[in-house]
């Protein structure tokens, strides 16, 4: 029985994150992907390590470094809680594997246990950065004994238990009462917006409070106070902190005990309530009684009709909406809000009002704006998943009498439109606030638009070459699709020409710099278009 749960857990984890990676054979391309992963993870490790190092050193000066432990424990509990809120609905309810799993001869609690284990494993991924690395830095700086590291590992293993269970339980109870098929999209969207608001408040808080070391101390003390005031509600937080700070066996034992009991309680409770919710979530739902009318049959132009279909499929599927569309909208908003709150913005406004398009400052403004826009579009994964997202309907593209290249161009339009519009909004706010010269802003947006076209073409080309339309869970396409790395690398590489024009061309007149940028990006975009045009159906070979 244990073996069955473990193997089912393994399968669930694979279908939810890793399947697409695992299938790739070892080769140059796989190594490239791995290098990228190492790079990305190395970067996060560095950030987390550097922050911990700074915080602990500061705290050690006033001999309060043990507060750091409570802080780390608190962050891990909160992040597990949030992460589970977001991922649990997908893993538990909206996953395509439910359709395959439920009819299989598994005991209900085996399925429940595997799903919950999957959520636990997910929370371990972020624990590496929020828990493991900070605590290792802590151990190193305080010259901790070997025992500390043993305790650390045990604490890190059990500490997500209670928060993950709490979040899951809340999700399950809500699912019991909500008519899932009706409010599916709403539900997931609310979750994402909650996270968005939190992230925004944190970023505003951070920008208002960073500065000198004293400020950092004050913040850390506040958080520590918060952690301690939460002790009664989160006993595991208390025991985990104590176990690590005082190397207390009793606390560690209590922590493990509470977690183990909570695991058993969790399985038995969810065994009762999970399946009632899950049946509702995949079955057919409320029907619209409205009959079709004349207006449902209006004839549309082919291009408009195709693009409209793309938008509908993108926006109506919650996983796609939250993973592909929202980031392109949220990021500029966060940036704009953070920016308008940031310290020193008033001085910047004073400086920037002297920018004109006739000297170097105008040229620099233009290049910086292009850089920012390109950077912002890095998180929009619409084109890179355009074909794969269609899933089993991807073959539709191949049997309708419409040239393949033409369909690819239509599929690029949502990405181009969304990234452009969100950057346009951001630029308008920033330019108005800083009173930037209009011409520089407009020219930068023109360059960005042409960049966005090329980027989208590049995205669909990659997606055709490495299609992932045979997925078992939509999550695979948007979350653990290695192609996304190509997209990110593309953005990074294309930051170079703008960076160069910032560094070496800024003595030239604005219009000359604009023309050079224009020629470069337009050439690239046109090159990709020619490629798609020439290859046409050859690009579709792997889609069947």
């Amino acid at each position: 029985m244990l073996k069955r749960i473990l193997s089912l857990t393994g399968i669930l984890i694979k279908t939810n994150i890793g399947a697409s990676m695992a299938k790739q054979s070892i080769g140059k391309k796989k190594i490239f992907t791995i290098l990228l992963l190492v790079f990305a993870y190395g970067y996060l490790t560095f950030i987390s390590g550097a922050f911990s190092y700074g915080a602990i050193s500061t705290l050690m000066i006033v001999n309060q470094h043990s507060a750091f432990i409570s802080l780390v424990c608190l962050i891990n509990i909160v992040s597990s809680l949030f992460e589970t809120f977001i991922t649990s609905s997908n893993v538990l309810y909206f996953s395509k594997d439910n359709d395959y799993l439920l009819p299989l001869p598994f005991q209900p609690f085996e399925i429940v246990a595997s799903k919950i284990n999957t959520l636990l494993v997910f929370s371990y991924f972020s624990e590496v950065f929020f828990g493991l690395i900070p605590l290792i830095v802590y151990g190193y700086l305080t010259k901790a004994s070997f025992l500390f590291y043993i305790f650390m590992i045990i604490v890190l293993i059990v500490i997500p238990f209670v928060p993950v269970f709490l979040a899951t339980l809340v999700m399950m109870v809500v699912m019991l009462f909500v008519n899932m098929s009706k409010h599916k999209s709403l539900f997931q969207t609310i979750g994402i917006i909650m996270v968005m608001v939190t992230t925004m408040s944190i970023s505003i808080y951070m920008t208002n409070n960073t500065g000198s070391q004293e400020d950092l101390l004050v913040v850390l003390n506040q958080v520590n106070g918060l952690a301690q005031s939460l002790y009664p509600y989160f006993p595991t937080l208390k025991f985990a902190s104590e176990a690590l700070i005082n190397a207390s066996f009793v606390s560690l034992l209590l922590l493990v005990l509470i977690s183990a009991v909570s695991y058993v309680v969790m399985i038995s409770v969810s065994n009762r309530i999970y399946f009632k919710g899950v049946v509702g979530s995949s079955s057919t739902g409320s029907y619209s009684k409205r009959k079709v009318e004349k207006k449902d049959f209006v004839k549309g132009s082919l291009a408009l009709s195709y693009v409209a279909k793309e938008f509908k499929c993108l926006i109506r599927k919650p996983v796609y909406f939250t993973q592909c569309v929202l980031p392109s909208l949220i990021l500029p908003i966060i940036m704009t809000v953070t920016f308008s709150q940031a310290v020193g913005v008033d001085e910047l406004v004073a400086d920037s009002s002297q920018i004109t398009i006739f000297d170097k400052s105008g040229q620099i403004t233009f290049s910086v704006l292009v850089l920012i826009c390109i950077f912002m579009s890095m998180y929009t994964y619409i084109s890179i998943t355009a074909v794969s997202r269609d899933g089993s309907s991807a073959t539709f593209m191949k049997y309708i009498p419409l040239p393949f290249y033409q369909q690819l161009v239509y599929k690029c339009i949502p990405d181009i439109l969304l990234t452009f519009v969100s950057n346009l909004m951001m630029m308008t706010v920033v330019a108005a606030k800083l009173k930037l010269p209009v011409l520089a802003v407009v020219l930068a947006l023109v360059i960005f638009l042409i960049f966005a076209v090329g980027r989208s073409f590049f995205g669909v080309i990659i997606d055709c070459k490495k299609p992932r339309h045979n997925f078992t869970s939509e999550y695979q396409v948007v979350k653990s699709n290695p192609s996304i790395f190509y997209d990110i690398v593309y953005n990074f590489v294309l930051l170079i020409p703008s960076a160069l024009s910032l560094m070496i061309l800024s003595d030239l007149p604005l219009l000359v710099i604009f023309l050079i940028n224009l020629l470069f990006h337009a050439g690239l975009s046109y090159g990709f278009y020619r490629y798609i045009r020439e290859k046409d159906f050859k690009l579709a070979q792997k889609i069947f």
Partner: protein, 239 residues
């Protein structure tokens, strides 16, 4: 009319999923493509419709080569895939209207409404395909395939998931289609279906075509008497 000449396909090197297939499906006939699971039916149909490239050979639809003149060839057929899960986020009516835009269908309102009423899904056309059962999705896809009034109708396992009444309706529609002088080509692993309604059948197993002809010829050739089932088993087992 569909002409398949010497077509082969292998997914993995050395294993031919379709091996040297030769078939001509004439206008005005219902042709049943019979074979056990994994015989190569879907693979063949994917090659006819341009979803898969063949390794060798050529396929002509009303004289147009699917590789060399794909646009013309694709206008000549309507296709019902084995998996009717198409664009589940769209409403049925949106999907059908989208197809009308692609094929440039005239008089779409009447066509859609008539067929939807026949299949008894008229009342739910305004709902997302997501909320449809397998059979209902199948019906929507069938309607979609017929909107542009194609000369060739290609269906992969079309009876799967249909209730008896719809199955009957579909058979009627196939008969009508053929009687108008058009071609119907469909695959199935269910013998009764083939026995009742096909003018000719082709039996395929392990990628090789074992028999082409009428049901009666098959019975004559392989077992002097006995059900088609026996014939079928005999043919595919001796392969």
């Amino acid at each position: 009319m569909i002409e398949i000449r010497n077509v082969s396909k292998s997914y993995t090197k050395g294993i031919k999923s379709v091996d040297g297939l030769n078939l001509t499906i004439n206008n005005g006939e219902i042709f049943g493509f019979l074979g056990p699971n994994g015989a190569g039916k879907t693979t063949t149909i994917k090659m006819i419709t341009g979803i898969l490239n063949s390794d060798e050979g050529e396929i002509l639809i009303d004289g147009y080569d699917i590789d060399k003149q794909p646009m013309e060839a694709k206008k000549q057929f309507g296709f019902v895939p084995d998996n009717p899960d198409v664009f589940l986020s769209l409403k049925a009516i949106e999907y059908l209207n989208f197809l009308c835009d692609i094929y440039g269908v005239e008089d779409r309102e009447n066509k859609v409404i008539n067929m939807a009423k026949k299949f008894e899904i008229y009342d739910v056309l305004n709902n997302k395909l997501e909320s449809f059962s397998h059979g209902m999705r199948q019906k929507v896809v069938i309607i979609g395939a017929l909107l542009h009034n194609p000369n060739n109708w290609i269906l992969d396992e079309p009876m799967t998931g249909l209730d008896p009444k719809s199955s009957f309706d579909l058979k009627e529609m196939m008969r009508e289609h053929a009687d108008e002088g058009k071609t119907v080509f469909f695959s199935t692993h269910v013998l009764e279906v083939a026995e009742k309604m096909c003018d000719r059948v082709g039996i395929i197993s392990k990628g090789r075509l074992l028999f082409v002809g009428t049901i009666d010829e098959a019975k004559e050739q392989f077992a002097k008497e006995g059900s088609l089932e026996k014939v079928f088993l005999e043919i595919t087992q001796n392969a």
